[in-house]
Amino acid sequence: MRATAARLINILVPVKRCVDYAVKIRVNPQQTGIDTNVKHSMNPFDEIAVEEAVRLRERLKDAVKSIKVVTIGPPKSSETLRTALAMGADSAIHIEIPESAPAPEPLGVARALKAVVERQQGGVDLIIMGKQAIDDDMGQTGQMLAALLGSSQATFASKLDLDVEKKVAMVRTEIDGGAEELVCKLPAVVTTDLRCGHDVFSDSFTEPRYASLPNIMKAKKKPIEKLTPADIGVDLTPVLETLKVTEPPKRVGGGKVENVDELVAKLKEAGFTAVSA
């Protein structure tokens, strides 16, 4: 599709490095949080967001001028950015916080992202991010960001398309009763749900692509801009205080019986009586 004289699209994809979803979570002995000395990876919903951005470029070609990824996290979060770059993003921004700093909260993240957006030469037309992070399941950042920016928002998206000429995003969002089709003026914030890109007649989810070797090699050369919260004038001090973290009560196991007679005996033991015929 030939790019018009109008501005080309700049996409921003915020991503988060979380505990990998396959890890068995354990609460730390102080009951202040979970054991984080485990495998981390990119938040699965953010992976889908990156994948959606790359697919948009595959469809719209030169109309997509840039795909930039951004993360707020400790030094190790740069791995997450490299993964996104290997999937097809052009450049990255790392807002680095110390390893020991408390995890940022949605409002803080939203404010930081707003500051990032305002710094971008050429502006940002579309922000695609995961609907929630799987470590805190807050699901608020996208919505807060849209409100702070005063831009449109379409959350829990299962299908995303752009009309560059009209400068709108067509989004199908998941709602309780089914799906809702929205048309949002750009700039817009879209949060991706699991079934983003899902064809209603097939069973496949949007599967984020593997990072191929040539892309991994290219990703090493792509720029990562390093900033601190102070650089963008944002205070990430938490406003919420975590009082206690505990595991849910353990399920008491059932018992296995060898045959019907034993089952009846156990039921009787537990006080069940037969219904009279």
């Binding site: 990998d20 990876s41 593997y210 191929s212 060898e258």
Partner: protein, 513 residues
């Protein structure tokens, strides 16, 4: 008990009757009197029999009588599921007296018909003996009942940061006793070595019921050194249940690697596999933990049947075969540096050995890439009936063996949709072990006649082994002389005669007597 597993087994409509050519001392069949005796040793629910008094329909014991592939069918009337070694011993004492043939059975995932009866032998299933006896987190020595499922053992020791020294696609169903009895190799052999090295001790019930307990000395001795005198356990490792029943296993489990990575590489030509292996070994040295070969057809089959997510179209274009490589090491950054150096040297080379590759970025992708390899066996089963040849031949000849076999079948007019649909190859490059699979629409005598002894002779021409890791079972009991000398086979028969003079222990398997 009718289970979902039974429903999942696809039974051949006209079951191929197992033609056994072995001759043996006359063995007795199980009678109701035997059942009555077993009822004194075992609780009622541990005896499954079509004989009175329980008189179950034979469909209830079908899953025990049929192997995983649906190729081998036994006609046992009775399955026993003991819970203790003492029970196993008393069962064997009785069977020895009565000259009843016994088939020890674990997860029944074997691929050479070794775990089902040839006729109506008694099936002794170890599935109910599934307790972990002890684990020493310092040495990693794990002592477990033979009926423990391999994956369960992995999960048991995982919180202690240890892993099992072996891994295979059947891990969710196969049992450690069966693994040891078949000297299973698997995906980690390259790194951790064979069971002959990692098993510290065994508890075995001999054909006459005697319990040989080699576990106790090892528990006191925790160093893993074999006891003095003859190292008896080695006899039972790989004997496929023909010398005795393994009831307990003591095995050394290595510490879990702190960092694992895997990568699938697409190769333009098969000839690149060997140089690629050498390069990988050079750059990765001690962190290389698996190196698997997958030919193009095997990869397509795995993808077709949904085993793991496929690579991108542009990634596989022009690839003749694939290699799955895994690294396991102590430090993530160190491993990544080695891997990056290897990948850069591969991509930047003047005449690159690879077209491209994908590197897993998360545990999910790691599992998905592995699935593409581990799922081939299942994909083959979904595609048709498999003739499996687990052979050791020089790496450079892997492709030739597959192509020669395919050509041979074509010449015999058997390469078409109603006979042999596909001939594929995949395997453990590092161990020189190729799994040659002929996927057929059905098991037929014509196909078998075309394949055997053709494949065995082909392997012998390379001075290879006809059974690298799957065992001989019933499938290759007649073919051992392709890989072992007459002197060796004679010695094996003498040992068999010594330990099992009445020939009741898994008759018809491994050796022809």
């Amino acid at each position: 008990m009718w289970t979902a597993r039974t429903a999942a087994r696809r039974l051949v409509l006209s079951p191929r009757r197992w033609q056994h050519t072995t001759s043996r001392q006359p063995l007795s069949s199980v009678t109701p009197e035997d059942i009555a005796h077993f009822a004194k040793i075992l609780p009622r629910n541990a005896i499954l029999s079509t004989l009175p008094p329980s008189a179950l329909p034979s469909s209830e014991i079908e899953q025990y009588n049929n192997d995983w592939m649906g190729k081998y069918h036994g006609s046992a009337t009775t399955v026993l599921r003991p819970q203790t070694t003492q029970q196993v011993s008393e069962i064997m004492k009785w069977c020895y007296e009565r000259r009843i043939g016994v088939v020890p059975q674990g997860g029944n995932t074997g691929l050479v018909g070794g775990s089902v009866p040839v006729k109506d032998e008694l099936i002794l299933n170890l599935g109910n003996m599934s307790k972990v006896r002890s684990f020493d987190p310092v040495s990693g020595a794990l002592v477990a009942d033979a009926g423990c499922i391999l994956e369960s053992l992995s999960e048991y020791i995982a919180p202690h940061n240890h892993i099992m020294p072996l891994d295979l696609g059947a891990k969710g169903s196969c049992q450690i006793g069966g693994n040891v009895a078949t000297n299973a190799g698997g995906l980690r052999l390259l790194r951790y070595g064979s069971l002959h090295g990692t098993v510290l001790g065994l508890e075995v019930v001999l054909p006459d019921g005697t319990i040989l307990d080699n576990l106790t000395t090892i528990r006191k001795d925790n160093t893993g050194k074999p006891t003095s005198g003859y190292d008896l356990k080695q006899l039972f490792i790989g004997a496929e249940g023909t010398l005795g029943i393994i009831t307990g296993v003591s095995i050394l489990t290595p510490p879990a690697p702190q960092a694992t990575n895997n990568i699938i590489l697409a190769l333009p030509r098969f000839e690149n596999v060997l140089p690629l292996f050498k390069t990988a070994r050079l750059h990765l040295s001690e962190i290389l933990s698996a190196f698997e070969f997958i030919d193009r057809e095997a990869y397509e089959l795995a993808v077709k049947h949904g085993q793991g997510r496929a690579l991108g179209e542009d990634e596989v274009e022009g690839a003749q075969c694939f290699v799955l490589l895994e690294t396991s090491g102590g430090k993530k950054e160190h491993d990544e540096e080695k891997l990056t150096t290897l990948l850069e040297s591969l991509m930047d080379a003047e005449d690159p050995l690879i077209i491209t590759g994908v590197l897993s970025q998360s545990p999910t992708q790691f599992a998905s890439l592995w699935r593409l390899r581990e799922g081939i066996t299942e994909a083959v089963s979904k595609e048709g009936k498999a003739y499996k040849y687990d052979i050791s031949v020089p790496l450079a000849s892997f492709k030739d063996v597959v192509d020669t076999t395919r050509e041979h079948l074509r010449k015999n007019g058997l390469l078409h949709a109603d006979a042999v649909k596909q001939v594929i190859g995949y395997g453990h490059v590092g161990d020189g072990n190729l799994h040659l699979n002929i996927v057929a629409a059905a098991y037929t005598p014509e196909i078998e006649a075309a394949l055997e002894p053709f494949v065995y002779e082909l392997v012998a021409s390379y001075n290879g082994s006809i059974s690298a890791e799957h065992g001989l079972g019933a499938m290759k009991a007649h073919a051992i002389h392709y890989s072992k000398s007459d002197v060796a086979v004679d010695m094996m028969k003498r040992i068999k005669q010594l330990l099992d003079p009445r020939g009741i222990m898994n008759p018809g398997k491994v050796l022809e007597v």
